[in-house]
């Protein structure tokens, strides 16, 4: 982990989001530093995904601020940035990995076009170079580069997820948001994907916010974790500390309910 800098990559404070009378996120605050992986765990309906949407500029919170360390302005509230800047951030400095690869991929175009889309969005205009880079990234996520012209539909679920990751990493983002990246995959595929993600995060110095209900994902990938329940953070800290010595009753319940194989 890179701890040389004092400026967090992302700083969230007092974030609250209500849907009518129901409070989906209540006074959430945390910081992420470059190269750090944070897992948000909690049961269904605990506000994890709402929080992820709020901090990735997809859903405006009612209160609180989300600041990102932009390249030219330093820490800036993402909801005060102009929309062009925010969208620029979203396709260069950020990545989004969805639970369902169909949400993150274009089914109508080949794997290579999917991987290279962001590259073309930031101005790449040389076909051979674009293609070369796309196939390089397919190899990095352990996909067969010979399948560069196949449609995403012809890939398996785990491979589609890798494709989605390659598509996001091609512009070398600094922060990646992942919503249940391994849900819906079988256990062995999950393990390989987690291994890959861990390797990439370490190699690229990637910071990530990962939403999951799977404590194993948190254990393997995250340096720090946050436990959410009913829209509030009930416990947060170093992953091993939270998992090995849970303080809050809910966290204790969560840890004790993991089925040991």
């Amino acid at each position: 982990m890179n701890t040389e800098t004092d400026t967090p990559l992302l700083r969230v404070s007092g974030l609250t989001k209500r849907f009518g009378a129901h409070s989906a996120c209540c006074d959430v605050g945390f910081e992420i530093f470059p190269g750090e992986v944070l897992c948000i765990v909690g049961e269904s309906g605990s506000g994890k995904t709402t929080l992820l949407k709020c901090i990735s500029a997809q859903l405006q919170p009612d209160h609180g601020s989300v600041e990102f360390d932009t390249r030219d302005q330093g820490l800036a509230d993402i909801y005060r940035l102009s929309e062009p800047m925010r969208r620029m951030l979203a396709r260069t400095d950020w990545g989004f990995v969805f639970q369902n690869p169909r949400d993150g991929l274009r089914a109508g175009v080949s794997a290579g076009a999917n991987v290279a889309e962001r590259l073309m969005a930031v101005g790449a205009r040389h076909y051979a170079n674009i293609r070369h880079e796309a196939s390089g990234w397919m190899q990095k996520v352990e996909l067969d580069a010979r399948r560069i012209d196949d449609l995403p539909d012809t890939f398996s679920g785990g491979m589609q997820q890798r494709l989605q990751i390659a598509r996001n990493l091609i512009t070398r983002p600094r922060l990646v948001f992942m919503d249940e990246p391994t849900a819906g995959l079988d256990v062995s595929v999950q393990a390989r994907l987690l291994d890959l993600l861990r390797g990439l995060a370490a190699d690229l110095g990637l910071a990530a916010v990962i939403v999951t209900h799977d404590l194993a994902v948190a254990r393997l990938l995250a340096q720090r974790m946050m436990v959410m329940r009913g829209g509030s953070v009930v416990e947060s800290g170093l992953t091993d500390q939270v998992l090995d010595d849970p303080q809050h009753p809910y966290t204790q319940l969560l840890v004790s309910s993991v089925i040991q194989a």
């Binding site: 175009v109 076909y127 674009i130 012209d149």
Partner: protein, 302 residues
């Protein structure tokens, strides 16, 4: 223009009522002010089905005046059903003069072609547009494509070109080839062949585009820069043929393949019927040693 005497047809001048024409003219002014920008307008029911030129016909009705001379072409030809009917429609409802000669026309309504004869300053060319949004097949949400235009986010259209090269080895889009207008706005040039794309660039005529079903109007003002998109290593190219027109011998025009019998016989002739006719009138003929057209084939640009 003041409301006119309805005349024997019982319709207002050029069919549309004056308020509708004003509404369309307002949209046109905005379209000309922002080259390539799609201006929404209240498209009316026209006495022909969507897809047959309702957008073009409304734009023509809004700009046509008593002294205008109208030419209507469909696939380059003046005597196809669509062209004949639209020409007759305006001859009846507006009582204006019509022509088949490109140089004589002040307004040219077209589907699928730009005339081979260079247009002159002062002429207006009206395109019939089925799908004004060049990115529609990649992004179905109108709100999203409008935002992409507003913020000049045109990575997506590259994905389409990339996919073309990947599947076919070259950019296989041959019509409705996307263009960048005035270095700012991505635009669908309507389904003209890419052969005609270079004619859009810095054309002295005013080019108006009407999409009736999609309720959009856009424009390219005279002498505006229009660039066809491409990749650095796959530059834009137009179609080429390895023979000339079988009638007039033109080597610089867009050729249609015409089946001449049911034993595989075929010939290639100018798609622009007026251009071919003018050349024939000037005594131009196809050379006698023209390669056998049955054996010749269309060679797509690679």
């Amino acid at each position: 223009m003041k409301p006119d005497d309805p005349g024997p047809t019982g319709y207002n001048f050029a069919y549309l009522d004056e308020q509708t024409k004003r509404m369309i003219r307002r949209a046109l002014l905005k379209a000309v002010a922002i080259p390539g920008y799609q201006v929404p307008f209240g498209s009316r029911e026209m006495p022909l089905p969507f897809g047959w030129g309702t957008g073009g016909i409304q734009v023509t009705a809004a700009v046509i005046g008593k002294n205008d001379v109208l030419k209507v072409i469909d696939q380059g030809s003046d005597d196809t059903t669509n062209a004949v009917n639209i020409r007759r429609f305006f001859a009846r409802t507006a009582g204006i003069a019509t022509t088949e000669r490109t140089t004589d026309a002040t307004i040219i309504q077209t589907r699928h072609r730009i005339p081979e004869t260079p247009l002159a300053a002062g002429q207006i060319i009206v395109f019939q547009v089925p799908e004004p949004e060049p990115m529609r097949r990649l992004e179905a949400r109108e709100a999203e494509t409008r935002k992409m235009h507003a913020l000049e986010e045109y990575g997506l259209i590259r994905v389409k070109l990339y996919e073309d090269i990947t599947r076919h080895g070259h950019i296989a889009t041959t019509y409705d080839y996307p263009v960048m207008v005035n270095d700012r706005m991505l635009m669908a040039p309507s389904p003209i062949p890419k052969f005609d794309n270079p004619k859009l660039d810095r054309n002295p005529a005013l080019m108006l585009f009407g999409a009736g079903r999609e309720k959009r109007i856009y424009a390219v003002p005279p002498y505006t820069k229009v660039r066809s998109l491409d990749f650095d290593d796959h530059p834009f190219e137009i179609q080429k043929w390895n023979q000339c027109c079988a009638q007039c011998g033109a080597t610089d025009s867009f050729l249609d393949e015409v089946i001449t019998d049911d034993r595989g016989g075929r010939m290639f002739v100018c798609s622009d019927s007026d251009y071919c006719r003018q050349r024939l009138a000037a005594g131009q003929r196809a050379p006698a040693d023209q390669p056998d057209s049955a054996a010749a084939s269309v060679q797509a640009a690679t």
